[in-house]
């Protein structure tokens, strides 16, 4: 599956295209399929998200898992500061990255 991701213009937070907007949770990300480039260009025009790009991901029962470790770290947060990730109370969340 293909996901569209970028960083929110104002907060800089990692954000994922949900099909009708943006979410900071990768679980909400939609498969953009062949429409990625078109959505990307439209969103660049809207100037809400910085440097959007398309990535590969695998569907799982808990939602999409980006194919590359870099995007998994983007999705969750730094592996060395679990208290600053999106799931600070989940000690196993880091395993999802590695």
């Amino acid at each position: 599956m293909k996901l569209l991701t970028g960083n929110d213009l104002v907060s800089g937070a990692v954000t994922w295209w949900t099909g009708n907007g943006w979410s900071i949770h990768v679980e909400d990300a939609a498969d953009v399929g062949e429409q990625g480039e078109a959505i990307l260009h439209a969103e660049e025009g809207a100037r809400r998200v910085n440097a959007p790009y398309i990535i590969d991901a695998l569907p799982t029962e808990n939602g999409p898992r980006p194919a590359h470790i870099k995007d998994r770290i983007r999705a969750l947060g730094p592996t060395v500061r679990t208290d600053l990730t999106l799931k600070p109370a989940d000690p196993a969340a880091g395993d999802w990255i590695i």
Binding site: V10, G12, I69, P78, T79, V80, R81, L84
Partner: protein, 542 residues
Amino acid sequence: MYKYDNYDQAMVDARVAEFRDQINRRIAGEMTEDQFKPLRLMNGLYLQLHAYMLRVAIPYGTLDSRQMRMLAHIARKYDRDYGHFTTRQNIQYNWIKLEDCADILEELATVEMHAIQTSGNCIRNISSDQYAGAAADEVTDPRPWAELLRQWSTFHPEFSYLPRKFKIAVIASSEDRAAMRLHDIGLELVRQDGELGARVFVGGGMGRTPMIAPEINPFVKADDLLSYLEACLRVYNRYGRRDNMYKARIKILIHEIGADEYRRQVAEEFAHVKTLGIDPPLAELERISAFFAPPAYDAANVEPDRNDLDFALWLDQNVKPHKQAGYAIVNISLKPIGGIPGDATSKQIDIMADLAEKYSFDELRVTHAQNIVLPYVAKRDLYAVWQALRDAELADANLDLISDIIACPGLDYCSLANARSIPVAQKIATRFADMDRQRDLGELKLKISGCINACGHHHAGHIGILGVDKKGVENYQLTFGGSGAEDVSIGKIIGPGFDEDGVVDAVEKATEVYKALRQGDERFVDTYRRVGLEPFKEAIYG
């Protein structure tokens, strides 16, 4: 310390106002990211993996308690309660919001700080010896010269759009504590027949093509220094490659045309530049130097009581001799075992500011090894300083030992990184947590970069580690034999890379080889240089 005059303050204030307007226009959608990006980078604002990152300049790594407290305030109010001290003696905040950035810069400007020259293809923040003004071995205090270069380079109209970024270091000791020859220009202030001048090295650097700067001029008189540097930059600006960013640094130019030809062109340019009268008059040099006058030393030369064993170990490892009897240089390690190299909480930053105000004539330094220095501590106060540091978890006695690791933010934060650096640093420090073991290994500088850009100085590590992306998996190459000190050298890759745990094992095996083969007081790097790579390879790869 240098204090802004009206011109300095007006320039910084105007820059904040200008950037505030640019931010507002960007948020309002009046500018694209392509238009905005070069503007934000000129103000130290990057976009990293998780958020914007703001890099704040700390000129030649020197700051006072008021400025240090401001750094803590920024971390607390606008970030996530911590900051990261960098190998360019700056500080970075990892979780900045664009909408807050102008307010942050406005607050920084109230204490004479900014983020200018921390990004872009300009002359970056001037770096220097963290012991400047305190070191027993310096021929003069390099800070007035670093400040002069800061003023000369700030918003220099000719050098704001160089082919690539440009880094300058200034030292004044034969012992190099600033990796001087791994800079685009390295200056070593020296005296020749009583006259002050500088050895000028040009064309060093790390990154994907590491090079040691050759000596371009063995002695440039202090009176000619700015003109000579102007000539060095002009030749680079004229002929440095702008068609290929990977070949745009001055080291590539000098490598391609040769040091002799570069030296000839600089001499030719210098003959012209010298007629322009850009070297400052003596009165201006004296004005700047007056800001760096020695503090009012008044302590008797009393050796501290060594009865507390932990304190004594810290004294031996982290406290260095001072030029002034009765005083010492205190190194505060930001490398707790298992911690993140260079990170400090706002509370710790405040505590270090308090200690500087109370015990170090209100001055601190940031080191390129990502530690903090209190440069003027009376020996009678060392125990009190140590106790306060211990209570703040800042008293690790590991300066220059294997756990005093330089590490870039790596893939945990950086958009350029290929692999994580910090977890490797944490695992190595934890493996060698036993302090007796660390002290037995002696000076061992281990440096880790998460990509070929080498922000973690891996080329200059006695042991260097470079993280690479191997088909989507983190992989770590080991290098041995590098040094950023006066015995400067570039490390050599020892063989195939390792996974995260494998590289920790390999480092441990290398230390065992060193222990078996060392002679006398040899450091790890000395033994490696004497015996060569083979015994290490044999142990590591079998």
